[in-house]
């Protein structure tokens, strides 16, 4: 009698403890879940905050100059007449140079690492590339200014200017005195900078190709190039696009590497050897020295334009990737 009562007692005690534990667990779980959801939402809030604050900061300049701000080349702090055309041009041109150079080389290195390189060298070189992707941009800037630009000025630029002299089109693209610094130099530095990024991502996605796919292609007699061209690259298209997208994003918004070697000249020249400016370099060079609300606001407006450009490019590439993914899925 007592024994069964005790048993019933202890079992109801255990049930109570269990119920309490379940309640406690349910509470902590929902607290934790809410916390994680808020953190995720914070990412959205941040982006919204960036957009709103930039629009607010740029408003004085935008309302003062209107749409003309986008197509005006002049940048004169004395007369307070500001236009964004030269920095936009510089940003696009330098990034384009960088991508055109870095993408083929990056894919080439990835092919080398995944298909050709002796196994013993593969890991060291792969690690080296990944480590180099982490080197801060200011290092590239200081190297560009003190080592690369003087080299270009003395050796490469005079040679190229002479080479293309008299060739229609190219002669104006590569003309003028060899300053060393300028759009071309910035583009080259950016190319070197984004190269490890593109390489390491391309290599990573190449590694995800199932060996059996490659082996079956080799098995029917394909050459290494054919395997790369017909199997590896189609399989990893999305990843490669991701790498290129990342590289372009870095190049567009890159500040320090460019600021050192661009020359900070607010004008548009036909020659790629002429000094120019990019959006980020203008902001970095002038923001702390800008006096007057209109000047500061114009620089913030430049930042807003950069933000919009990168946003559009990244969004477009994501949508492109999604379309490719869907096509690959169907």
């Amino acid at each position: 009698m007592t024994i069964t009562a005790e048993a019933a007692n202890s079992s109801s005690l255990a049930a109570n403890i269990r119920a309490a534990a379940v309640r406690r667990f349910a509470l902590t779980d929902s607290v934790f879940q809410t916390l994680t959801r808020l953190s995720a939402a914070l990412v959205l809030v941040l982006l919204g905050g960036v957009a709103i604050s930039l629009v607010a900061g740029a408003w004085p300049a935008l309302s003062h100059f209107g749409w003309a701000f986008l197509v005006t080349e002049s940048w004169n702090p004395v007369t307070e007449k500001f236009g964004a055309l030269a920095p936009i041009y510089g940003t696009l041109v330098t990034s384009l140079i960088a991508i055109v150079i870095a993408v083929p080389i990056g894919i080439g290195i990835a092919v080398f690492l995944t298909e050709l390189c002796p196994r013993s060298l593969r890991r060291p070189i792969g690690i080296a590339v990944e480590l180099l992707a982490g080197i801060p941009s200011i290092i590239y800037g200081i190297w560009g200014l003190f080592v690369f630009a003087p080299f270009l000025q003395v050796h490469l630029q005079p040679f190229i200017i002479k080479l293309f002299h008299g060739v229609p089109g190219l002669s104006s693209l590569f003309s003028g005195p060899p300053y060393g610094i300028g759009l071309m130099t910035s583009g080259l530095i950016l190319a070197i900078m984004v190269l490890p990024f593109i390489t390491s991502i391309t290599k990573d996605v190449f590694d995800t190709v199932p060996p059996v796919l490659k082996e079956s292609a080799y098995g029917i007699g394909c050459t290494t190039w054919e395997v790369t061209r017909r199997v590896v690259i189609p399989y990893t298209r999305v990843g490669i696009m991701g790498g290129v997208m990342l590289g372009l994003g870095r190049a567009l918004g890159e500040t320090m590497a460019v600021t050192f070697v661009i020359g900070n000249a607010h004008r548009i020249s036909a020659s790629l050897f002429a000094p120019g400016t990019t959006i980020s370099a203008s902001i970095a060079n002038e923001f702390t020295e800008a006096d007057g609300e209109l000047y500061t606001s114009s620089l913030v407006a430049l930042g807003l334009i950069l933000f919009v450009i990168t946003f559009l490019i990244l969004a477009a590439s994501r949508f492109m990737l999604m379309r490719i993914e869907r096509r690959a899925g169907s």
Binding site: L47, V129, L131, G134, S137, E226
Partner: protein, 283 residues
Amino acid sequence: MAAASSRHNRRKARNTLMMGLSIAAAAIGLAWLALILGALVWKGAAGLSIAVFTEMTPPPGDAGGLLNAIAGSVVMTVIAIAVGTPVGILAGTYMAEYGRFSKLTIVVRFINDILLSAPSIVIGLFIYEIMVRPMGHFSALAGAFALAILVMPVVVRTTEDMLNLVPNALREAGAAIGAPRWIVIRSVAYRAALSGIVTGVLLAIARISGETAPLLFTALNNQFWSSNVNAPMASLPVTIFQFALSPYDEWQQLAWTGALIITFAVLMLSIVARALTARREDR
């Protein structure tokens, strides 16, 4: 037969050409990077001495060190990691665990990718608008928050990726013995993904320790020692920027030395991160 053989030769030649180009690409890439590192060590090591780590940044034309800049960088990095990492890990957790298939996750992933590649100078402008302008002065705290915003997307991305790699069978095993979800996440998923998450944090540190652009008009710079986070503070990257563009030889030398120190620190961090991952993989 002849046609087949010529086609074979053509394919072989094409293969040799393309593979040759890819070897050339690797050689070019590694040569450039070796050139940069070589110049950095060559120029930076010349100015390396104890004074660099024990003396303050000098006035123009004087000898000195980088102590206040190094200390400032460390302070701001620590604050940035302390702020950015927990939020990033939690957000990544939501995306991989609670809301793996929710709409919010898709949107957040999209936005996070954009923040990940967002130009850091724009983040600097954002912090300028919301902190520096209302407070009326530049401050180390503003700089640290700018860096924290750069830390977050890196951590969100790696956390989500690493948690997604954890096999669902592990979670199911945890759930099967009656563990509530957050304990499964904490004791199973986090543990399985730990080395990946730590690597993400280390990479985030490596990324912000060289960031210059977002500090230019948030933390500004400081010629002197300062431990006040509510006042402008020197940082290694901004000091390098200022000194490298100056006409003074001593300052330029310090810039090179500072650049060498940053690069060394960043490389060390990355190597430690890799070693961490490698050891866990071996086990």
